[in-house]
Each structure stands twice: as C-alpha cells, then as structure tokens.
Amino acid sequence: MQTNPKSNGLFPTILASTVHDIKNSLGTLLELVRQTAAKQDGQSAELNQLEFEAARINHSLMQLLVMYKVDSQKFSLDIEECPVIDIVDEAIHQQARLAGLHNIDLQVDCVADEMCYCDNAIISNSLAAVLNNALRYTHKTILIVVAEEDGYLTIAIEDDGEGYPPHFLAADLNDTAELDWVSGNTGLGLYFVSVMAGLHKNAGKSGFVQIDNESRLGGARFKLFLP
C-alpha cells in the first residue's frame, strides 16, 4: 500500500475550498456575534474578545492563502496608482469596530491627494493586520503617518503601548530566510507584510519594513516603505 501518495495537483483546489469554507463559517460566526451584541445593551468583554479572535483568524487565513500562492508562483501583484488615504482608510475600516470597542483614539496624518503605486488590496490588508495588533497592545492612542522618505512612500503605525519585545527588534525582518522571530500572530503578520513589501519593486528599489520603539506616542512603531 502506498503510504505517501504523490501530489495529484488537487491540493490548490482543496486548499482554496477549505479556506472558502472556513471563511464562510467565520463570516456566519462574526455575524451572529454582531447580532447577539446588538441584542445586549451593554458591551460584553467576551463578545468583544470573540470578535477580535475571529478577525485574527481571518487575517491569518488570508495570509496563508496568499503565501501559498506566492510559493507556487500563482501570484503577482496588481499594481495601480491609488490615493494613499484610500489604503489607510480601508485598513482602518476593517478594524473600525475593534477601535470603537476599545475606545482607541485613531489619528491619521495624511495629505488627501497623495498618490502611490502599489497593490492596494494587499497593502491595505497587510496594514489592517498590523493595525489589529497595535489595537491589542496600545493603551489609548494610535497614530498613522504617511510621509515621503528617500524616494520611498512610508506608512507608519505608532502606538503608546509597551513596545515590541527585544527579540523582534533584534530580528532582520527583511531577511525572509531567517525566520526565528516568526512565531505568534505578531510575527506572522510582520513576516507577511515584509514579504509583500519586498514584492513591490520600482527603478531598482524594493519595498521593506522597519520596526522600532521610537513612537512619538512612546510605544511601538511599524513603518512600511514602498518604492
């Protein structure tokens, strides 16, 4: 008997169907949480936690699927010119309910008609995952700053939490061959966004990410550089 069946090429289909199915369940779950929350007058900590976890699963799944496609060369970015504010807004809207639930003050510093070239769906989803993390670790405020630096467009997400733990700060996020630091949700999220940033290329430059604890608010600072 064959114990190790050879790949029959169906794995991609199965993976996509599985993810689709989990996402449907997740959607139903989220919807039921919302409906239950609406019925209750006050906010319930358990329900909030439930919603937060569901959003996390959702991000992880999306990232898993994209990484799988990158790995099997079935992925290419869809680069378009797009207002940066639309990308930031999309990330914020994805996390809007959580920010509201935690009473977080979300501030955005971005010029209205600043444009950038990127795969906007991929970038806003990556940022949403980072923002999801920031929402978890910040105390009161999160600041999103869009700027230009050395010919790159940068989007920074800063918080007033405890900052990144030392093993993250010591890691080279852009060396995707060295993956010691990739563990837990924060690590996976950072890995994903750094791979996606790296796929963005222009005029000999590649995108990358940087993290430190130099936030103006005193906590962690994440910065995405797009060429």
Partner: protein
C-alpha cells in the same frame, strides 16, 4: 459620511441566508430603502431583467447554478445593467480577481468576505464618485460615439484631477486604439511607462504592435510581460491571438494550457484551447477541453451549440460513435428549434453514420445539412459551412461542395486566416490546393475591381466608383475591403461635395454593415472619427 444609499436601488445576490440577512441589515443601516434579494443566479438575472439597479452586490460562490462571474457576464452581455450600475463581486478569497480576470467582464469592485458597513460604504462612495466623473465619456461610448468620447476625455485630462489622471490616460489610449490612432496611444503608454512600469501600459504597446501587424514584436512583448506578471490573464489571451495570426497553433495550445492551469473557469479560453488542440491533432487535450466547455457552458451566457458539436466531432474522430450520437442528442434537447444547432448536428451525423457503415442515414443527414446550409446562406457560421463542404466532398457530393465553397471564397477572399483554415481542411481530406485556382482568380478580380474603383475615385468620379463597388459586392458579399473602400469614397464625397441626408443615411448603414461583418475596429474607427468631424463641421455651418 455624506454619501447615502437612500434613493439607490440595490440587488443582493447571495445563497447563504445568514449573509443575506447581514447584508440587508447593513444596507438598511446605511439608509437604503429599495433592496431586492436573490438567492441564486437565475433569480438575479430575472430581477435585473425586470428592473434596473444602481448597485448589485453579488457573491461569487452561489452554490449550484451560475456563479457570480457568470451572473455578471450575462448581465453585461444582455445589457441588463448599464454603465451607471456599480457591480460588486464578493468572494472569500482575496486573489479571486486575478483568477477570474477575463477581458471585458471585470466587476467594478471586488470585496472580500467578511466585510463591514464602513468598508462597503467607502467602496461604494469611491465607485460612484468615479462613475460620476466618467459618466459623460461612458455615455458617449455606450451610444457608440467614439469621437465625442475622445473629446470629453481630452477635456477631462486638462482638468487637474490628480486621482483620475492615470485612469483617464488609460481610457484615452484605449480610445485612440479603437480609432486607429496608434501614434497617440503609443505616446501615452510611453509617457506612463516613463514614470512607472505598469503592466497595462506594456500590454497596450503589445496590442499596438499586434494591430500594426508586427506580430513577432508583439509576441516578444507579451512574453516578457507574463514572465514578470504570471497572473496577467489578458496577456495570455493576447499571446494566443498573436500565435494564431502566425498560424502557430502549437504555441496557441501551449499558451492557453498555461493560462487555464491558473484560471480553469474561463469558458472562452477553454473553447479556444479545444479548437487549437483539435487543429493540432491532440485529440486527448481537445476532448478534455471540449468537455470542460460543455460543462462550464451549462450556466454561461457564452455557451453555444458549437460546444456540443465540437465534442461530438471529436468523439467521431476517436471512433466513439456512441458518445458522439449521445452528445448530439443532448444538444438537440438543449437547442430545440435552432437551425444552426440542427445544421451542426446533421453535419456530424452524416460523418458518424458513414463510419458506422450506415449509408442511408448518413445520406439523409447530409441532405438535411445541405438544405439548412443553403437556407441560412451567409448567416451560417463560416467554420460550419466549411464542415458541410468537407462532409459533401467525403460523400462525393462535389457539386454541392463547390457551390458552397464558391460563395465562401468570394465572401472571405481578404481573410487569409480563414483561407488557411480552408486549405487545411482540403489537405486533411487529400485535396491539397484544390481551390487554389479559384482563390487566386478571386483575389485578382478583387484587386482589379479595387484598382479600377480607386482610379475612378482619383478622377473625381465618385458615383461611378461607388457603382462599381456596388456591383462587386453582389458577387463578393460581405467583402471587408470593398465595404471599407466604399466608406472612404463616400466620406471623401461629403468633404468635397454638398452634404445631403441621403448620403448620411447611406454612410450610417455602411458603418453598421462594416461592424456586422467584423471589419477591424481600428480600421473602422479612423473612418468613424473622420465622419464625426465632418458631421460636426456641417452642423456648425448649418
């Protein structure tokens, strides 16, 4: 947010009741009033045929029946939604967009599940803003007024809207290509590429090469583009077209295989693969592809009776007569009272019964085919007429075959690709170069007529030239070269002679005719633009 859904009519297409309810609640919370729900593709199509919607929110995965992409294709194909409608395709997977990417049938927006009210609202706001900005151009285009659309586009480009600038440039370049103004389009693409390497601009340059008949260059461009952007599905389609133009059907087959591995759901691509593999004699690939086509066609507006007859023919080739007849039976069930389907079925049957040794049934089927074919005349697809010719030859009905061939060659004498198909068919049945003399004679006659017509035109004898072409068209119906020449003369006539309504009507009718018989859009575009300019100056004078 200032934008509200009040006053917008919205259709939700979703099979899952929990999501449907969630979406409905979401829409009501955004002040929506008119919300219609459909839980499957057919219900969605019915709803769209009954009333017009400003917004359609359609899930991709609708369980059994049509999927969301098929709903969109059918809605656009049957004009159930117009340029003002925002169609949002919702899916669980973020990368769906790339996988589904089909020329001409992209939704206005993709949304990934799960999403919340804020996300939906900001997407809709953005889309409505964009549609409003582009409305005048889209309206002109929907009315077929290329020249007006171009003018409006130029005017908008002068406005300083940074957000829309690139979008307008892309549109302007596409308009230029439709109008045959390749220099302008090329200039725009180069300008865009100077700032940023964008696949659509690179693709545009390839398309221009293709239209200018620089096929080798076009292929080189498309190849390097797919190497960098493996998910740029349109590029595979263009590569296929380019190889087809060079008659390299092995390459057509392999490029379509590659595309279908990435995106197996596209019926039109499967169809092309089936035809190419069939031509190449790779019957196994062709059979698999035809089966997919029939299966995908079940819920697609792009289905056709030729899908079934293609599969049946293939079975006939592989000596699976039973399967062939069964497929034809299925086809008759799906297409009752459909002369083209009946013609296809009879043609294949004549062949199948012959191999089964049943001369009587074979003869009967052939007679039926010939009868329908002559009844349909030019309305029968030309590839099908070729099939009938082939079957006639094989059944020793040479007179019938020659009769149809004569008309086919006269009608399509300036279409080298078709003539190659014809030659291939004849070689396939051991009749190499059978029609070569007729083809050459017809070509020479066309050239002679053209030269004579152009000479008359140069002498300013417009009506004589037109008269000549009118005569020629009787013997070469639907000949593109002649129609285009007639248009050129009539437009020139308007320039130098007086303007009258009768001439106008004639030009319009000819333009329609040219569209019908498939004159290349860019060749026709140049004439349309010239004519539009003339009309404008006429109205200005009046």
């Amino acid at each position: 947010m200032s934008f509200s859904l009040a006053g917008k009519s919205i259709l939700i297409v979703e099979d899952n009741p929990v999501f449907r309810r969630a979406m409905r609640d979401m829409l009501y919370s955004l002040q929506a009033v008119t919300v219609v729900e459909a839980d499957n593709g057919i219900a969605a199509i019915n709803a769209m045929s009954k009333s017009s919607f400003d917004i359609v929110l359609c899930d991709y995965n609708l369980g059994v029946g049509k999927n969301g992409q098929q709903v969109l294709e059918e809605a656009r194909y049957r004009s159930l939604i117009d340029y003002r409608c925002v169609f949002v395709l919702i899916s669980a997977e973020q990368t769906t967009s790339a996988v589904l990417g089909v020329m001409d049938s992209k939704p206005d927006e993709y949304l990934t599940k799960p999403f919340n009210a804020q996300q939906l609202m900001s997407r809709l706001t953005r889309n409505f803003a964009r549609k409003e900005f582009m409305a005048s151009i889209d309206k002109a285009l929907a009315g077929g007024d290329l020249s007006k659309a171009t003018q409006l586009c130029d005017a908008l480009l002068l406005s300083a809207d940074k957000k829309m600038h690139l979008h307008l440039l892309k549109m302007r370049a596409e308009l230029a290509i439709s109008a045959g103004d390749f220099d302008k389009a090329r200039q725009i693409y180069h300008e865009v590429l100077e700032h940023r390497e964008l696949p659509w601009a690179r693709l545009g340059l390839g398309v221009i090469d293709f239209q200018n008949n620089n096929i080798e260059e076009a292929i080189a461009g498309f190849q390097s583009l797919v190497a960098d952007n493996p998910m740029l599905m349109e590029c595979y389609d263009w590569l296929g077209k380019a190889y087809e133009a060079l008659d390299q059907y092995n390459d057509v087959e392999s490029v379509l295989q590659q595309a279908l591995q990435l995106s197996p759901q596209s019926i039109l691509r499967q169809k092309k693969l089936a035809e190419a593999a069939d031509k190449n004699g790779n019957l196994e690939t062709a059979e698999k592809a035809y089966k997919s086509v029939v299966k995908l066609g079940k819920h697609s507006v792009h289905r056709s009776c030729s899908d079934f007859s293609g599969l049946a023919k293939l079975y006939a080739k592989t000596n699976a007569a039973d399967n062939a007849l069964k497929t034809l039976e299925e086809m008759r069930k799906e297409y009752s009272n459909h002369p083209e389907a009946e013609l296809r079925a009879s043609t294949v049957e004549a062949d199948v019964y012959k191999t089964l040794g049943n001369e009587e049934l074979s003869q009967k089927a052939l007679l039926k085919a010939v009868e329908i074919c002559s009844r349909l005349g030019n309305k029968a697809p030309r590839d099908l007429q070729l099939e009938v010719v082939k079957t006639c030859f094989l059944s020793d009905e040479h007179d019938k075959a020659e009769e149809i061939l004569y008309d086919l060659i006269h009608a399509h004498i300036d279409d080298e690709q078709f003539l190659n198909d014809l030659r291939r068919m004849q070689s396939g049945i051991g009749m190499d170069n059978h029609s070569e003399i007729l083809i050459q004679k017809t070509k020479q006659a066309l050239i002679a007529t053209n030269n004579k017509g152009v000479a008359l035109y140069k002498q300013g004898k417009f009506s004589e030239a037109l008269e000549l072409f009118e005569q020629a068209i009787l013997t070469m119906p639907d000949n593109k070269t002649i129609i285009v020449n007639m248009l050129k003369i009539m437009i020139h006539d308007l320039k130098v002679n007086e303007f009258c309504e009768e001439k106008n009507q004639r030009i319009k009718a000819l333009i329609n005719k040219a569209k019908q018989i498939g004159v290349d859009q860019h060749k026709l575009g140049i004439l349309q633009m010239e004519y539009a300019k003339l009309r404008q100056s006429q109205t200005a004078k009046a």
